[in-house]
């Protein structure tokens, strides 16, 4: 059994003068305080990576900064899925009896620690060094290729995708730590400058500074018990050139495993925390998991299905699209929000009741997938 006992997220946006280790330290200490655990209780540490500080041993760097000596420490690296995969790995370490409290932490100054060109160039490097990167492909263009295919196959429109950006912005407005809060309309998304067709600027998440941390423990702590009930991963390809014809297949494989290990069905979920690097990412996930009909994710969002008072509230902190995206901490913020909601601590963002939630992230271009079913058991 593994439980999510501590959570923390910094504000996302600009943290000038603060490096990845500073930001991760802030989130880690806050998560420990949230779990009411002393530092020395942490016997496992899995850190993310930072593009602004590409260290070989970030896990140990963080252990040193926190002045702890865990029995297990390393840096995990599967792109956007890193946080989700690290939480699953923490569960495996606990199940193996190797650790009792594993700190998962990610964060970096991706916005202020480098130029925007450097950030875009680094991220483009997930492409193939011979067959993709030299062609001038970027992360948005990899996702644009998938988005164009998605629109072609489903008949959904760019305006439908824009609904998802509008929804994320609306949710972010209620979170004091969100990077982007100015209300957004579908027309504004459609009129924003084109990046790689069909993606416009406002279909893309921002680049941010920030950090987040989650403590995974062998036993529950606190009044509300949040159990990691199910977990699943799938790694179907790295490069978009070799992605399967069904662009949602990796997501489906990971989710199926997560629901199976949890002994739950898609229909049991009451709250969602889904990776939303681009509007099509979110649409493809919602439809692959069966939370929306094929091609209908945007329309369902417009009709309120994923709003706070809807049937399946989604990314109530604003997601990557509006809360922000500092790399590994991006998805961890989804988990933090979901746990906060499940505990009933979300203040004016609070949903009515959410005993079961599904969280999912991808790394690369729908390459690596990791999904979590969270269950409130007390």
């Amino acid at each position: 059994m593994a439980y999510l006992t501590g959570i923390a997220v910094t504000a996302f946006g600009k943290h000038p003068g603060r490096g990845p280790v500073d930001l991760m330290e802030e989130a880690a200490l806050a998560a420990l305080a949230d779990a009411a655990l002393p530092r020395e209780a942490i016997d496992g540490l899995i850190s993310g990576y930072a593009t602004t500080y590409p260290h070989l041993m970030m896990g140990t760097v963080m252990a040193e900064r926190l002045a702890i000596r865990p029995r297990h420490a390393h840096q995990a690296q599967v792109g956007g899925a890193t946080g989700a995969a690290a939480i699953i790995l923490a569960r495996h370490l606990i199940a193996a009896g190797a650790c009792r409290h594993v700190l998962v932490v990610g964060g970096e100054n991706r916005l202020t620690g480098q130029s925007r060109d450097d950030a875009v160039k680094t991220l483009a490097g997930v492409g193939h060094p011979i067959h993709e990167v030299p062609l001038g492909a970027s992360i948005p263009s990899y996702y644009a290729l998938v988005a164009a295919r998605y629109l072609h196959e489903t008949g959904a429109s760019e305006a439908d995708l824009a609904e998802l950006a509008v929804l994320m912005r609306r949710h972010a407005a209620d979170h004091p730590g969100a990077q982007l809060k100015k209300p957004l309309t579908v027309d504004e998304v459609l009129a924003s400058k084109p990046i790689a067709t069909p993606l416009k600027f406002l279909d893309c998440c921002p680049i941010s500074d920030g950090a987040a941390a989650v403590v995974v423990s062998a036993e529950p702590a606190g009044a509300a018990v949040i159990r990691l009930a199910g977990w699943g991963e799938a790694h179907t390809h790295q490069h978009v050139s070799e992605m399967p014809d069904d662009v949602g297949v990796g997501a489906k494989l990971a989710a199926a495993q997560a629901f199976e290990t949890a002994g739950r069905k898609t229909a049991d979920m009451r709250l969602l925390g889904l990776y939303d690097s681009f509007t099509p990412t979110l649409a493809i996930f919602l439809e692959a998991f069966g939370f929306a009909q094929p091609g209908r994710a945007g329309i369902a969002a417009r009709d309120g299905r994923f709003s706070r008072d809807g049937a399946l509230p989604l990314n109530l902190h604003g997601g990557l699209m509006s809360f922000g995206h500092p790399g590994v901490a991006g998805f961890l913020a989804h988990v933090v929000e979901v746990v906060r909601q499940m505990r009933g601590e979300a203040g004016r963002r609070q949903v009515k009741d959410a005993p079961l939630a599904y969280c999912h992230a991808d790394g690369g271009v729908f390459s690596s997938h990791a999904g979590l079913v969270l269950e409130r058991t007390a």
């Binding site: 875009v120 483009a124 062609l135 001038g136 295919r149 790689a196």
Partner: protein
């Protein structure tokens, strides 16, 4: 100019692009190098208006397509403007090593500078 270089399995005939020692379909080692005919169909296409490097930015952007070659593999190409999913294209690798896709039947020589 020539067709894109591919690998072909001597046992099962599967054809792919990324270099591997073994066939991804049947794991037989020792694939054969083959040159694609160049004919293919656009699986997806985008016009990139914000390049990953400022020096790559060109006015009006440049096209990138994923083309399913007639031999089977899907490969990334620079593409001429105006291509749509499902269009038949001809792919040729130019002297700079970049595969470029142009609409099938058009003049390869003077098409697709970007």
């Amino acid at each position: 100019m020539s067709g894109p270089l591919l690998q072909s399995c001597r046992a099962c005939g599967h054809v792919w692009q990324f270099r591997r020692a073994c066939c991804p379909a049947c794991a037989t080692a020792g694939p054969e190098a083959v040159t694609a005919g160049g004919g293919g169909t656009v699986w997806s296409v985008t016009t990139v208006l914000r390049a990953p490097l400022p020096e790559l930015d060109v006015p009006g952007g440049y096209g990138i397509a994923l083309v399913t070659l007639d031999e089977g593999p899907r490969i990334m190409c620079r593409s001429e403007a105006g291509l749509a999913i499902g269009d038949r294209v001809q792919v040729a690798v130019e002297d700079d090593g970049m595969p470029r896709a142009v609409r099938a039947g058009s003049e390869l020589e003077d098409a697709c500078g970007g």
